[in-house]
Symmetry: C2
Subunit: 298 residues, 2 copies
């Protein structure tokens, strides 16, 4: 299943990739800023957030073509967060996906500005989505909340504070990850359903997307922590063997490897259960994705 699924994931990511390439061909952006923004945006990655948004949109009634610009905005937000997190004052990483990080390649000032530019341009793009204005407003609001100080930015702040400390509790760890990476993954799923017309608060599809996103976010993070220990792959986060993996609070550290694997499987199963009312290729893809996340760690 895994190889076939990887091909489908790559095919879906490829749609996003093509769109992203065209995104930053905007007039009036200084050349070096454009270059720095593109460098990080086109540096690879599984494009998980846009793919989630597209699949949830597809499954709940919106066309891929219409959602693509919005979904690509999610990748720009994810990319900005990586560029800023890599900065010397933050995680101080020299490499990202095997290439020099933005500040190593372009200097710190341009890296900060490239991140700021990606974040702001993401909103400009998402706001142009071809859906009823109410749906677009609600979807962009969902993403803004998730990416902001009570979401992703807040999570990074908690992570910075925790670095070097050994005393983080399991609940704090869960909360930190739910904000740092979980919130945007969840918003990616929800925004697809909201664009397709689901009520942002009470809509059944929005609730299912929310629960699916929370659970795969949790599974993702546990598996990342497991791979950080067993060391054969990385996906969401830090290079294996980076300074941070020493003394870092992780799921295996709290629960051991076996219990961590079980917790990840439970989360994946709960994610799958959120799909029971749907059908079609989007549903199949999301079902397999939940299992794929866990299979990476076994």
């Amino acid at each position: 299943m895994s190889k076939e699924f990887k091909q489908e994931l790559a095919a879906r990511a490829n749609e996003v990739e093509k769109y992203l390439k065209s995104c930053l061909q905007l007039e009036g952006i200084p050349g070096e800023l454009q270059e720095a923004m593109k460098y990080s945006l086109m540096a690879g990655g599984k494009r998980v957030r846009p793919v989630l948004c597209l699949a949830w949109g597809e499954m709940t009634g919106a066309s891929t073509k219409d959602i693509l610009p919005f979904a690509s905005g999610l990748e720009m937000i994810h990319t900005y967060s990586l560029v800023h997190d890599d900065l010397p004052a933050m995680d101080n990483d020299d490499l990202r996906r095997g290439k020099p990080t933005s500040h190593k390649k372009f200097g710190e000032a341009l890296a900060i500005l490239a991140g700021d530019g990606l974040l702001t341009q993401a909103f400009a793009m998402m706001l142009k989505a071809s859906f009823p204005a109410e749906n677009v407003l609600a979807a962009v609001s969902t993403v803004a909340q998730a990416a902001g100080p009570a979401g992703m930015v807040g999570g990074q702040c908690m992570d910075m504070r925790a670095t070097g400390q050994e005393s983080m509790e399991l609940d704090d760890l869960k909360n930190m990850h739910a904000m740092k990476t979980g919130a945007l993954l969840r918003a990616a799923c929800c925004s697809g359903a909201i664009l397709a017309g689901s009520d942002p608060v009470k809509g059944k599809d929005t609730c299912n997307a929310h629960n699916y996103g929370s659970n795969i976010g949790l599974a993702f993070q546990i598996v990342d922590d497991i791979l950080d220990v067993t060391g054969d792959e990385i996906s969401l986060g830090k290079p294996v063997g980076s300074d941070e993996s020493v003394n870092k609070s992780t799921y295996p550290r709290f629960l051991g490897l076996e219990k961590s694997r079980n917790l990840a499987q439970t989360a994946a199963d709960e994610a799958k259960a959120c799909l029971k009312d749907y059908h079609g290729p989007g549903r199949e893809f999301l079902y397999k994705l939940a299992q794929y996340i866990v299979d990476r760690a076994s």
Copy 2:
């Protein structure tokens, strides 16, 4: 006129001030991040961008109460730009309005995150404006374009590149300022009119707001440059006598003081001409504001 006008400006700014105080009382923001965001947001300033948005909205038919959350978002975007511009890798400023800059007070990591948090939260707030969804979408889009890589972020990038160089042409200087500070001032005016119902592209009020904003932006910058030379006040930008004022491209450097003053007055007059079709207190305020900007330098 000046003293009376200053009181009116302060009274209008005070409305914004009160709203801003309540803005960041959000659940789920880590305490230190919330503190850093508030520290910079509540550090004073004339609140020119929100006041412009409110006055244009008022003059074209929207209530102050309804526009206030949106207008406050503009101040959060302005504040984030100051926090990031002050960073060691950028302008490396220790003081801002007589107080330690964010990174001096909280460290670089938290300053970067406070800026990121303010920018993202600004979008979350603006998207909640109580106007028809189409108007809100168009207004937030206008701001996102203005604040992004083809606007404010791009202008800061050009400014960074120009620092230390003596060879900037007058047209480059104009273009850089039009992006770095002009774009958001213009968007502040336009978004007020757009929220009130003016078409974002072809609306007469939007066009007038656009031209008014461009002209006061230009006047503002010329006057800032003049004050940088004559040294009695600062408003938009850098502390007098900071490293940058040496060898910096400025209007007086290109044109001399007298011609610079004349150019600022011409811009103010053109701004006033954009108001000829309006009446009421908003109109009076905007008219006086245009002249007030120029009078600061005489």
